[in-house]
């Protein structure tokens, strides 16, 4: 007698298997447990940039790490930027599979502070007195929420003005510039033919944000309220618009979808002398010595000029912090890795030597490496310039809608004003409604 499986039996078995699979899926995606990290004697570290991963790897070579965790294995995994943050978010929501430590970029941190539970370890007590040794707006503010610190960043984001000194001398401009009016006057002399003073971004909020901070304001106040349409913010956006369309000393910065800030096209435009000045933090300027080598010795760095709002000499823009996830099985070792990398001279100097990353750790500026003059920037002591400006860094007010708000700002205000010449006041005021909807 044949004992073949009937269609009904198969459907029954299949149905059972499906229910089992569904239950399995529920167990896997239900967020039931907090299991992640690498296990007993190892750490998992996720990054989106090889340079930053190397910065953390350098900490493993220090005596302090070897003495404390010499037998600890650290597994580094580097993903593309979007993918890493998406995977991290998914792993943290599901309750499984997150690393012990992750690099979290400033704009992406806001996603992790939505809701009542935060998926990162509160590091406030662990940092303890070390907090006095860092420039907080760059080192911890972006990863701070409701007075608790969830991450530590290494890069000092003191924004400065940089320009081709040789070309300014050629047109007889008096430098360093004291006011933006002087910059515009020099820009009108130096902008000829295809050459413009600045490359301003119409697809990124950075330029506006820096000028807004230098004017003494920001997008959100310390209570998380939107203030992007106040007088100073409107003036900053109008000023950017006018540099392109009125004084015509700026062009629109080349940008691509994957990099709206400084893609290869942007860098090559500087190499071709289509743009001869910029303002930004040290990480932004770092493309000049690597991608525009032939202009070595011709660039000068100075504080931001006055003339807009309060006219603060610097602004605070960008950064990536290292966070310990709540799934970590080895939170002590995970924090030690962060501390040695970010809060010791050995860690930050190694990163400075590898990536020219100016640290947010104050004692490092006593180190000879950071006091050396920089050949590319005409022999200036950049470490000293940044250290002098750092105490004046404006604070960073994090918000659960920060990432969404900056993207919305570009969409609804920056692009329309910088591309379509729309009214800055109307655009920024109109954006208020969008922010309110985001917060609901």
């Amino acid at each position: 007698m044949s004992r073949g499986l009937s269609r009904r039996d198969f459907l029954r078995a299949g149905g059972g298997a499906f229910v089992g699979a569904y239950a399995l899926g529920l167990a896997g995606c239900g967020g039931g447990g907090d299991q992640g990290g690498s296990g007993d004697n190892s750490l998992e570290f996720w990054a989106f940039d090889e340079g930053r991963a190397n910065f953390a790897k350098a900490a493993l070579e220090t005596k302090e790490w070897r003495d404390a965790h010499g037998d600890m294995k650290v597994n580094f995994r580097i993903f593309p930027y979007e993918q890493m943050h998406d995977k991290l978010l998914t792993a943290l929501v599901s309750g499984k599979g997150a690393p012990d430590v992750a690099d979290v970029e400033i704009s992406r941190f806001s996603n992790f502070i939505k809701g009542d539970e935060l998926p990162f370890l509160d590091l406030t007590d662990r940092i303890g007195g070390d907090i006095d040794d860092v420039y907080k707006p760059a080192a911890t503010d972006p990863w701070t929420w409701q007075n608790k610190i969830y991450g530590v960043g290494n890069e000092l984001n003191t924004c400065v003005l940089a320009y081709r000194q040789d070309l300014m001398d050629e047109v007889g401009a008096r430098t360093p510039f004291e006011t933006w009016d002087q910059v515009i006057a020099a820009g009108q002399e130096v902008s000829t033919g295809d050459r413009k003073m600045f490359a301003l971004h119409d697809l990124d909020f950075g330029d506006h944000y820096m000028l807004s901070q230098s004017s003494g304001t920001s997008l959100f106040d310390d209570q998380g309220n939107y203030i992007g349409d106040n007088e100073e913010n409107v003036a900053a956006l109008q000023f950017l618009h006018d540099m392109v369309y009125e004084s015509q000393i700026a062009g629109i910065a080349p940008a691509v979808a994957s990099d709206s800030w400084y893609p290869p096209q942007y860098r090559s435009a500087f190499a071709a002398e289509r743009f001869v000045a910029l303002f930004g933090p040290p990480w932004h300027l770092s493309f000049l010595p690597t991608d525009v080598k032939e202009q070595s010795g011709k660039w000068t760095v100075q504080k931001l000029p006055s003339g807009l709002g309060e006219g603060l000499p610097t602004a605070n823009f960008g950064g990536t912090g290292q966070c310990v996830t709540t799934q970590s099985q080895n939170p002590d070792a995970a924090y030690d890795l962060i501390r040695i990398a970010n809060l010791t001279n050995e860690g930050v100097i190694a990163d400075f030597e590898a990536r020219t990353a100016y640290p947010a750790y104050k004692p490092a500026y006593e180190d000879p490496a950071l006091q050396e003059s920089n050949k590319y920037f005409g022999g200036q002591k950049l470490g000293q310039i940044y250290a002098d400006l750092a105490p004046g860094l404006p604070p960073f007010n994090q918000s659960p809608v920060w990432g969404q708000a900056t993207e919305g700002l570009v969409r609804e205000a920056i692009t329309p004003v910088m591309q379509d010449k729309e009214d800055a006041q109307a655009a920024l005021s109109g954006f208020r409604q969008t922010v309110e909807e985001m917060k609901q």
């Binding site: 073949g4 298997a17 569904y22 809701g115 969409r411």
Partner: protein, 311 residues
């Protein structure tokens, strides 16, 4: 007649499957199929059902989910970004149906006709037109980033040479969607032409010869004979173009990321943004289901229209 064989018992019928061992179990084929069904259940049916459940919850950030009924679906109607994405995706779908599909038909007819004389050339053109379809989206994006470059791009150089105005194709909100449509046409022209070629090859030569004998010109034969006989293929191409258009993600995401100012935002990109950038999982699930409903409804309308037309 051989009495011995006539009186013998009739032989046992062969097993139904034909391959099974007599008296043995027929479970083997099902076991071979089971992995597929298990994978299908875990990675497709479960997420589809879970997303359906999620679409009725407010599930944003870390913490618990709250049942909100149809709120997420109601929110779609008043969401200006969703409506913008719907508009852009619909424009893209219209271009797929009314520009891409006729162009593909034209290419197929040209390849099959006397315009391309030899079989070797026909194969050559088939391959040339099909190549973009098997090219990685990342490679396509890199290539068109260069072609559309504002300063040194091939397209602007060509336009300049012809005395025509140039554009910052990917960063200008007025022309960015057009650029995306051009890339999509380039990418999908070949595969659609191939569908039409297959359809054209199935039309018997005798029918066309009979039309010629009856005095029909080439154009008349095309309109009165070829096109009606191609109707099933046309329907297939249009339906799949519509369905896939409402899922478009890679090309606009890699070339413009939905910008500038949402001018190339598609439903799939918006779903991704809501899910991963805004971290609003419930609403993202509702967007996903709205996409599925739109695609199914449009495909059903097209099928019904085709049926009515057939009558």
């Amino acid at each position: 007649m051989d009495t011995e064989s006539a009186n013998a018992a009739p032989p046992e019928p062969p097993p139904k499957s034909g391959r099974g061992r007599p008296g043995g179990s027929n479970i083997a084929p099902y076991l071979f199929l089971l992995p597929f069904f298990l994978i299908y259940a875990v990675f497709l049916i479960y997420p589809v059902l879970a997303a359906f459940r999620l679409s009725f919850y407010e599930s944003s950030g870390f913490g618990g989910d709250t049942f909100t009924g149809l709120d997420n679906y109601a929110r779609l109607v008043g969401d200006s970004r969703y409506l913008e994405a719907l508009k852009n995706t619909t424009l893209y779908a219209l271009a797929s149906v009314f520009i891409l599909s006729p162009l593909a038909l034209l290419v197929a007819v040209a390849i099959r006709s006397f315009v391309v004389p030899t079989a070797a050339f026909k194969s050559f053109y088939r391959i040339i037109f099909f190549l973009p379809f098997i090219t990685s989206f990342v490679v396509i994006a890199l290539m068109f980033n260069l072609i559309f470059n504002n300063d040194f791009g091939l397209l602007n150089n060509a336009l300049s040479a012809l005395g025509l105005p140039t554009f910052n194709w990917l960063n200008n909100e007025r022309v960015a969607l057009l650029a995306i449509i051009l890339v999509a046409i380039w990418t999908y022209l070949g595969i659609n032409a191939l569908y039409f070629l297959a359809g054209l090859q199935n039309i018997p030569e005798e029918v066309l010869e009979a039309a010629a004998v009856d005095g029909a010109s080439r154009l008349q034969a095309f309109w009165r004979v070829t096109l009606p006989l191609l109707r099933p293929v046309i329907l297939f191409v249009v339906v799949q173009a519509t369905i896939f258009s409402y899922q478009i993600f890679e090309i606009p995401f890699l070339l413009t990321a939905g910008g500038p100012s949402d001018s190339t935002l598609t439903l799939a990109i918006y779903l991704y943004e809501v899910g991963f950038r805004e971290f609003d999982r419930g609403y993202a699930a509702a967007i996903g289901y709205s996409m599925a409903i739109i695609a199914v409804v449009l495909a059903a309308i097209q099928l019904l229209a085709a049926r009515r037309f057939d009558r």
